[in-house]
């Protein structure tokens, strides 16, 4: 069984968009869900959010950032290549209903998971205020798509090269401070950004959701590797989440757990890059 890559594009430095032929997954997918893929027999299983899906064409799009060995190797594949394993849709879909005004905040590659949500919230009749950000304008992804999918789009860059000079969370706070009543804020990005953003939104009378990125193996509730503490209880991110009430999440534990294999990962990446440089790959 192989899952063919149909399209592949580097949409920002080290950020890739890959469209995969996976009709069963495409048919069942909903916003907020993810897949797990494995490149080859020896590969690692890594989770990636479903950034888009087309049930008719039978395709699933993922957008990923090169982090370590697996994402770098994935970045080297191109249209026509195949993945050995591709499983999904995983996770509980986002609870999307008509709520009124919803703020979606995406940072870095976290912008990708926001996209299907923007579409779905808008389709459900919400006013969707999307805030996307990156370190600089070259790293900003999906601007045109977001413009189309949102009622209003706000942009922030750390260096001010585009839009607001500063963090996405600052724009979020400005909106929360304004007269517009907001029902829900969804924040997706690096854990530290979700933690800070959730902290800023916490004093307001608004529901705050975050999508957690714990380390996973199976994605079906079988290993418990993805466990997080939410509201003092242990939850499995892959089945109980990935979205949780941000006020209840123990972000410190999440970040600690994400560092579990840091040394092994650094070594694997180094070896992989060394092999690549020597032309062994």
């Amino acid at each position: 069984m192989a899952y063919k890559i149909l399209e592949k594009e580097e949409i920002a430095p080290s950020v890739h968009r890959t469209v995969i032929d996976a009709p069963d997954v495409a048919k069942a997918a909903k916003a907020g869900q993810f897949i797990i893929l494995k490149i080859d027999e020896e590969g690692e299983r890594i989770p990636l959010t479903i950034a888009d899906f087309d049930p008719e064409k039978g395709t699933v799009t993922v957008i990923f950032q090169e982090m370590g060995k697996t994402t770098k190797q994935l970045g080297k594949l191109s249209a026509g290549d195949s993945l050995e394993d591709f499983v999904g849709p995983l996770g509980t879909p986002s609870d999307i209903r008509k709520l009124g005004t919803v703020i979606l905040v995406g940072g870095g590659v976290g912008v990708a998971p926001i996209y299907p949500q923007a579409k779905a919230y808008k389709e459900a009749g919400n006013r969707v205020l999307t805030i996307i950000g990156a370190r600089n304008k070259d790293l900003l992804i999906l601007e045109a798509e977001m413009q189309e999918a949102s009622s209003e789009l706000f942009i922030a860059t750390d260096d001010g090269s585009k839009g607001h000079h500063g963090f996405v969370t600052e724009i979020m706070k400005n909106i929360l401070d304004s007269d517009e009543p907001v029902a829900r804020v969804v924040i997706i990005g690096p854990p530290i950004m979700m933690k800070v953003g959730a902290g800023m939104a916490a004093p307001y009378d608004v529901e705050i959701l975050v999508s957690l990125n714990s380390i996973m193996v199976d994605g079906t509730g079988m290993c418990g590797g993805c466990r997080v503490t939410v509201g003092g209880e242990t939850k499995f991110t892959c089945v109980d989440g990935p979205e949780f009430d941000a006020r209840q999440v123990d972000f410190g534990e999440l970040m600690n757990r994400l560092s579990m294999y840091r040394d092994d990962e650094a070594k694997a990446t180094e070896e992989y890059e060394h092999k690549c440089r020597c032309g062994l790959h």
Binding site: D24, A28, K38, E44, L90, G224, E253, S259, M260, A268
Partner: protein
């Protein structure tokens, strides 16, 4: 009978094994298997009883005296044929069945001396066949069935699902297996380690099932891609063999520290994803001081795997005594020989971490056995103030599993009991949902390979009857 032969008949022919100090450093199979001579010598111990008790102890009623007699006659092909008439996976059962509490427990020889080594003989026959490359369909008539035009979905590719699929395919039904992982075999692939059950054997059994015309769809989660209700619409009948794969944790302080694994995660990384093989990208924390909590096969497998990954010290913490450990006797013996130490009558109270969120130790309390409870088992009670700490950089929790609830998403009318298992009739596997049958760990909770197979077999028969009437 001369004195010498009767003496010889008292004890079993020993199983050739890798020496403990060697095998503790590799993932190759521990038990090397009988030679022809060993097999014949052991087979000749069997009394060929008229009313063989041993057969009653076997959940699938293998004709034990029948196949053993054929071994004595050196008709090994006949012997494997005989086993396969009721047991589709003899290479696996011969290796992992808890024989001491099943077939061998009831062997008459066991009363006065040692029972016949039935499992080892079964394994010998299966290995003989495999090495000779005899292709599998050994069941009479298997190649002449007419397709019935009926379709059956089997969910889960563990022993229950594989057995049900094989039997249904032999009856001419079109079977599709849906498996959520990327590899087939269930616990046989992700749980039981290579050194106890080489994955090549599992692969061959799966190949055999494919040869029977069964289609296998890996990476396919029922409850996510399709619901059980959808399967019921698309297929004439459904068999659920989804096992008991949801790990239990203890709910004690420090359980989410880095370095604390469920046995499922640890074994999946090591077995399914071969973390011990440098060619694989899989990471796993290789501890120096590893503590495993639990007393079953899962705990033994975790402990012995940790040892093979290079741990200096591996302890198994279990709250009762050695006698009460549910693991196969052979696994406990092997683990001890390899250097695993048993910390009995002890129960974890909390896990201790350092400032970097890594495990550094586990605190346990000593237990004593109290009065027998309703079931007659003496339950352990903590001895106040007896806490002690074991240094550990990896802790593996192997205290049991329950059925994974994903399958219940979108399954109208499937009755479950309190423990999360599916309610199914003993003899048929029929559930409360029309056309849906279930068997194996999803019904019983964590049990054995052979009981899961037995359930798959019974369900296949019942499904066949259901399809005839439908």
């Amino acid at each position: 009978m001369s004195e010498k032969t009767s003496e010889k008949k008292k004890t079993r022919t020993p199983m050739p094994e890798q020496p403990p100090e060697v095998r503790a450093g590799n993932f190759d199979e521990v038990a090397l298997g009988y030679s022809k001579e060993d097999a014949i010598a052991e087979a000749s111990r069997c009394l060929n009883c008229k009313e063989p008790k041993c057969v009653e102890g076997c959940p699938v009623n293998v004709d034990i005296p029948g196949f053993i007699k054929l071994i004595c006659e050196e008709d090994f092909e006949g012997a494997i044929e005989k086993i396969k008439a009721t047991n589709a996976l003899p290479a696996i059962c011969g290796r992992v069945c808890p024989q001491e509490s099943q077939c061998e427990a009831l062997c008459v020889l066991g009363k006065k001396s040692e029972p016949v080594a039935i499992g080892r003989l079964e394994r010998f026959c299966a290995d003989y066949e495999r090495e000779k490359g005899v292709s599998a369909p050994g069941v009479p008539g298997s190649d002449i069935v007419e397709p019935t035009g009926r379709t059956v979905a089997v969910v889960g590719s563990g022993p229950a699902g594989l057995t049900a699929a094989a039997d249904l395919a032999k009856l001419g039904h079109k079977v599709t297996i849906f498996e959520s992982l990327h590899k087939t075999g269930g616990v046989l692939s992700y749980g039981i380690p290579e050194f106890r059950l080489p994955k090549e054997i599992v692969k061959q059994e799966v190949e055999y099932i494919k040869q029977l015309g069964v289609e296998i769809k890996p990476n396919y989660i029922i409850g996510r891609i399709k619901t059980l209700d959808q399967l019921c619409k698309e297929f004439d009948a459904v068999f659920l063999g989804t096992g008991a794969g949801l790990p239990r944790f203890m709910g004690i302080e420090g359980e989410n520290l880095n370095g604390v694994y469920s046995a499922n995660e640890f074994l999946t990384r090591v077995n399914l994803m071969k973390a011990y093989d440098p060619n694989y990208d899989t990471v796993v924390r290789r501890g120096k001081h590893v503590v495993v909590v639990g007393g079953g096969n899962v705990a033994m497998d975790s402990a012995r795997s940790a040892l093979r990954l290079g741990a200096e010290e591996v302890s198994v913490v279990y709250r009762r005594g050695e006698e009460e450990m549910p693991a196969r006797r052979e696994e406990i013996k092997h683990a001890k020989e390899e250097g695993v130490s048993l910390k009995l009558l002890a129960n974890p109270t909390r896990i201790l971490g350092d400032d970097k969120f890594n495990v550094k130790g586990i605190e346990c309390i000593k237990m004593e056995l109290g009065e027998p409870d309703a079931s007659g088992r003496r339950s352990p009670v903590p001895m106040e103030g007896s806490e002690f700490i074991i240094d550990a950089d990896v802790v593996i929790i192997a205290i049991g599993t329950s059925p994974n609830p994903i399958i219940f998403k979108g399954s109208e009318g499937l009755e479950q009991n309190r423990r999360g298992t599916v309610v199914a009739e003993d003899e048929t596997g029929a559930t409360s949902k029309c056309g849906v049958f279930a068997g194996g760990d999803v019904v019983t909770g964590a049990a054995t390979v052979i009981s899961a197979m037995g359930a798959g077999k019974k369900a296949a028969k019942a499904i066949d009857e259901y399809l005839k009437e439908k």
